[in-house]
Amino acid sequence: MDYGLDTKSTRLKTFNTIFIITWLLIACFPFIWTFWGSFKVRADFFSRSDWWYAISAFNTLIETGGKFTINAYTQAWTEGEFWKASKNTIIVTVFVVSISLFLGTLGAYALSRSTEKYAFWILMAALIFRAMPHITLVSGYLFPFFELQIWGILPTTIVVLVAINQPFTLWLLYSFFKTVPKELDESALIDGCSYFQAFRHIIMPVMWPGVITAGLFSLMLAYNDFTVTALLLNQENHTMVPKIQSYLGTNQHEGNLMWAVSAVVSATAPLFMLVMFFQRQVISGLTAGAVKG
């Protein structure tokens, strides 16, 4: 927003610049630091004697002969079986995104074109469902899933994540479909299309921007989830985030911190790249429900 009449004093400008730089440092430095540290050995990144070792790479030089090492990565991906976790994450993410978009577009389209009272109540119920802490839902799942013997496998987790994701997807796509003019599909109905045909041939071609935003959010939910995947999957099927937690170790067995560091970097990098690419969609999605009030 450019104020035509607004002139800023230099002092204000300097203050503003300093503030933004400080904030960006706070926001980004931890990631940069972790990325840097993932190429060091444990004795450097978690140094007991001197934190400067993380920069001068004192122990890394002694242990590996170079200033940087990719040992943590190779070990975590092979020995730590991080490849398996990322394979599981890819499976879960792909299925969750496609299924929840399929269900979500149909449902949200119906909601946006319905003039009945129940559409409002369904949206309210979805809002309440959105507020449920995931862990309370998981505590409801565990017992029935044990009894039905469907605990620990990927399909169960996929279905659960799709369901948990539906309220948000419905709200997002609902507000998006509201902006698509009604006349568009109404004229198709007059020409003799069924509702499904109108949806298939008239709405689908114009709905991509909204679908991409909703898809990104489903992806981030499935990719980032810890609560559901940690408790509903067995060791063998763990996705990346619970895997990272298992590297941390517990009181009983010691973990391997450097594996966790490199795994964090490996898991975060694709996400950052994706968001960099789709930044506009992420921001429009976050504000979709909000700006209209």
Partner: protein, 342 residues
């Protein structure tokens, strides 16, 4: 849209939500009235040349038989809700009668697991939510004033803390703040106290988790406020400038009233998210000094000997009630608006 068409369009997503969100809540409700079976014990008489001794051992066979017959556990009514690990009705009564001052009473109550978790969860919400709103708004104002060309990368940098999962976000911070990390070690040097560390102090742990919460949630508030700022009309602002309003006055009297609905939206969403705080406790390995309601449920569910379904379910139900209380004002307001709109 005719009801029948609506039904078929909505069926898949409705079914998914009923089966995996509606039913689990009911299932949690039922489970909360049951408790796991006690272990059956039997007396075993052992005789040897020096005489007979009677010892009590666990009868594994009978125990597992009972567990198989009634996997849900034994009916416990509201027993789980009132026991020491939850509402602790008897303990509270006892403390109330025994302690002399109110402060001592609060101290005692603070040692009960459920109240301890509740207090942490509420403190976290209370400190994080307003700060998130404030910081998010300041960043939005500040970024709104820089040249349009460089805003893209600045926005990307700003939203990074939000897009990583809370576990990863808290780990990344923890590795720096820990006594062996870059910030922790420097603070030790600065304070000249080699034993200063996150784990040693409860207050420090709470402050760290709250700071983490602000760091993680502010970008969300920023994004929404930033988008809302783009819709503020220019004419009133220009008029105010001509009338000699200061920058602060312009924000207070023009910008804030305009984006007010958005502020309530952000406050609501961030309150809901803060109430379920859980992953940072694991990321900071702060279980010792900070426990939240969600963490209590998680702890019951990963219990090593036997999963405490009943206990977890009772905490879950109380968390849901808490959420309902938080949401109630919004729901009532929406309902009133809906009624007047009709």
């Amino acid at each position: 849209m005719p009801n029948k068409t609506f039904f078929w369009f909505f069926l898949p997503t409705g079914l998914a939500m009923i089966l995996f969100i509606g039913l689990p809540i009911i299932s949690t409700g039922i489970q909360s009235f049951y408790a796991q079976h006690d272990q059956v014990v039997k007396e075993v008489k052992k005789c040897d040349p020096f005489g007979c001794t009677v010892s009590i051992v666990v009868d594994n066979e009978t125990t597992s038989k009972i567990r198989e017959a009634k996997p849900l556990g034994k009916f416990n009514g509201f027993g789980t809700y009132t026991d020491r690990n939850h509402l602790a009705v008897e303990e509270i009564k006892k403390f109330w009668n025994e302690t002399e001052s109110f402060g001592a009473f609060v101290d005692q109550v603070n040692n009960l697991p459920f109240y301890k978790a509740l207090i942490f969860t509420l403190t976290y919400c209370l400190f994080v939510t307003p700060n998130v709103l404030l910081l998010g708004f300041i960043i939005a104002l500040s970024l709104n004033a820089v040249a349009r060309k460089i805003r893209g990368p600045l926005i990307f940098g700003t939203i990074l803390p939000m897009i990583v999962t809370p576990l990863v976000g808290s780990l990344v911070l923890f590795w720096m703040i820990d006594s062996q990390g870059i910030i922790g070690a420097n603070i030790q040097n600065l304070m000249n106290d080699p034993y200063l560390s996150l784990k040693s102090s409860k207050t420090l742990t709470w402050i760290t988790i709250i700071i983490y919460g602000i760091w993680h949630h502010s970008p969300f508030a920023f994004v929404v406020f930033y988008a809302a700022l783009q819709t503020v009309p220019q004419e009133p602002i220009e008029a105010a400038i001509i009338d000699g309003a200061s920058r602060f006055q312009r924000i207070k009297h023009i910008v804030l009233p305009h984006i007010y609905p958005v502020v309530t939206f952000v406050a609501l969403i961030s309150l809901m998210d803060n109430f379920r705080v859980f992953e940072p406790i694991i990321g900071f390995s702060a279980e010792g000094s900070a426990q939240s309601l969600s963490w209590l449920i998680y702890d019951n569910l990963v219990n090593e000997e036997v999963i405490l379904f009943g206990s977890a379910a009772a905490t879950s139900m109380m968390t849901i009630i808490g959420i309902a209380i938080l949401l109630a004002p919004v729901l009532i307001r929406t309902w009133k608006e809906f009624k007047t709109a009709r």
